[in-house]
Amino acid sequence: MMPWVQRFTLSQRIQHVVLFLSLIVLALTGLSLMFHDTALGQFMIKLEGGLQARGRLHRWAAVVLLAVAIYHHFSILFTVRGQKLVRDFMPHASDLKKIRQALRYAGGSQDQRPDWGKFSLFQKAQYFGVILGVLTMIITGLFLWMGPAGMGLLPKWLMDLTLLVHGREGMLIFMILLFWHLYNVHLAPGNFPMNMSWISGRITAEECRRLYPAEYRRLLETGEIQG
């Protein structure tokens, strides 16, 4: 029996599922509006039940996203596991040195993988990227949701800016998820069809030793795994 390393709690895995389900619905309904003048966009809007139903679907998904975002913020503020998660995600000065290792490893001038802790700097950047992106989308989205009432609060040009940012930021998030996340967890050699840790919440000790050496050493030291 291969030893396992627990990577995500059940709560974190559920949050992840709720997050990506809501993001998929938001992306589909949002992009179909953005590309309403194309045949595909019109087909999608039809599929979503028309222009108005599309809007309702988008806002329902937004409520789900808002709920999971609020839940996550409470969990990282008030639960021990949540606080540990944020600590693991916090960038550290030593990450700069590890970036160099990562570049050297990628270029082939060193055979040792970078000495990442629980999360690589790329994963850290992704976490805070998601937080920043979701925050932007929620704030701009709420103003847009208010519609004419929101327009009374902000001058017209700021409302236009809100709409612009909502669309462009949404597009950016969609592209990152589509190209990078899809590659990393699904398509990268060895991962296809997917990295199962999002369901099981764990990786093998061997994988941990290979990809997250610093974390592996820490787990050995604390006795959480036996070498």
Binding site: L33, G152, L161, M175
Partner: protein, 346 residues
């Protein structure tokens, strides 16, 4: 010799009678007198005077009175002649050489034609727009349907609409002799004219952007008036435009904000879209509209510099997206390269 003079005299009399016979029709004995009129029981005075040159200058210059007024068979006529029915000649396949056009049938199905068939005595028939005795080719100067006269002809019935139109940017330019600006039929159609409530109408809510765009999306037409041709595109990208495209009849179209017959240039303080009037104009649908609604451009194109901060933020996102994706692509390429290399080693 005597016989000769007698013959000559008789010939002269006959000749003069022949010469006079053609122009002096019996109808003109009465109808060529300028003051010829009748007074209706309600004291309404109807002129029955037909200026002699009106028919002579018309497309029907070779027709006789009786060709159209077929029910007049004796003079003086004891019963009032009926209105002339143009379709006695103007139908497809006619034998008298009248132009054969599908327009006659189109009129039958128009809002005017249907009203006329339903027995509305006020509904316009051919002669109400084209003229009666003085009917001319519409492109001809002096025709009641020439670019310059058409609005006035429609205005004989549509009085209040005409009064508004005459004061509008389109109406004023038309009055100055501009041949490009729209007159009634350019937006409403001619023989196909429909009520704005009918989906087939060119001024049906959902069709208005399309109708206005015939000119306002054409750089060649609107540029000389200093009007941007992009307003239609920016509208189509707006909330209102998208809703209209998808069949909403509630969403604002061009005329909802700019007005239709009363449309004025945006720098005219009476224009519906003059900044101080915007809260009121938007307020027709959005009671919460306030001065904030006028702070910024309405037709915004993020790809144009005059969009201000919108343009710069759009550019920022363009580069942010490009750089991020490039970075991610390099990251993926490096990862794949390392994996392939790693395989070779082992």
């Amino acid at each position: 010799m005597r016989r000769f003079w007698l013959l000559a005299l008789m010939t002269a009399i006959a000749a003069s009678a022949l010469v006079q016979a053609a122009p002096v029709q019996k109808c003109e004995l009465c109808h060529a007198k300028p003051g010829f009129q009748k007074v209706l029981p309600d004291k309404h005075v109807v002129s029955l005077y037909v200026p002699p040159d009106s028919l002579a200058n018309s497309v029907h210059r070779r027709r006789e009175c009786g060709d159209c007024h077929r029910d007049v068979t004796e003079i003086p006529h004891k019963v009032n002649p009926q209105r002339v029915d143009c379709t006695t000649c103007h139908y497809i396949g006619n034998l008298v050489g009248a132009p054969e056009m599908a327009l006659y049938e189109q009129y039958r199905e128009s809002v005017h034609g249907r009203a006329a068939r339903a027995g509305n005595a006020n509904a316009p028939r051919c002669q109400d727009c084209h003229g009666a005795h003085d009917v001319r080719v519409p492109t001809q100067e002096g025709s009641s349907l020439s670019k310059r006269n058409l609005a006035h002809s429609c205005g004989r019935c549509h009085v209040t609409v005409y009064a508004k139109f005459a004061m509008s940017v389109h109406g004023k330019l038309l009055e100055q002799g501009d041949q490009t600006v729209p007159t009634c039929t350019d937006c409403h159609g001619e023989h196909t004219i429909e009520s704005p409530e009918e989906p087939s109408s060119s001024v049906f809510a959902a069709s208005i952007p399309n109708t206005c765009s015939k000119c306002h999306a054409a750089e060649a037409i609107v540029a000389k008036y200093g009007v941007s041709a992009e307003q239609v595109d920016t509208y189509n990208e707006s909330f209102h435009g998208i809703a209209t495209t998808f069949g909403s009849q509630k969403a604002a179209n061009c005329a909802s904000c700019h007005g239709a017959h009363e449309i004025l240039p945006p720098n005219d303080p009476d224009s519906w879209i003059y900044p101080t009037n915007i809260p009121k104009t938007c307020g027709k649908c959005h009671p919460e509209a306030n001065a904030n609604w006028a702070k910024g451009k309405i037709h915004v194109d993020a790809s144009k510099k005059d969009a201000g901060i919108i343009y710069y933020v759009a550019n920022f996102f363009k580069w942010l997206t490009l750089l991020t994706l490039t970075g991610l692509a390099i990251n993926i390429a490096l990862d794949l390269y390392r994996r392939v290399r790693g395989h070779r080693k082992t």
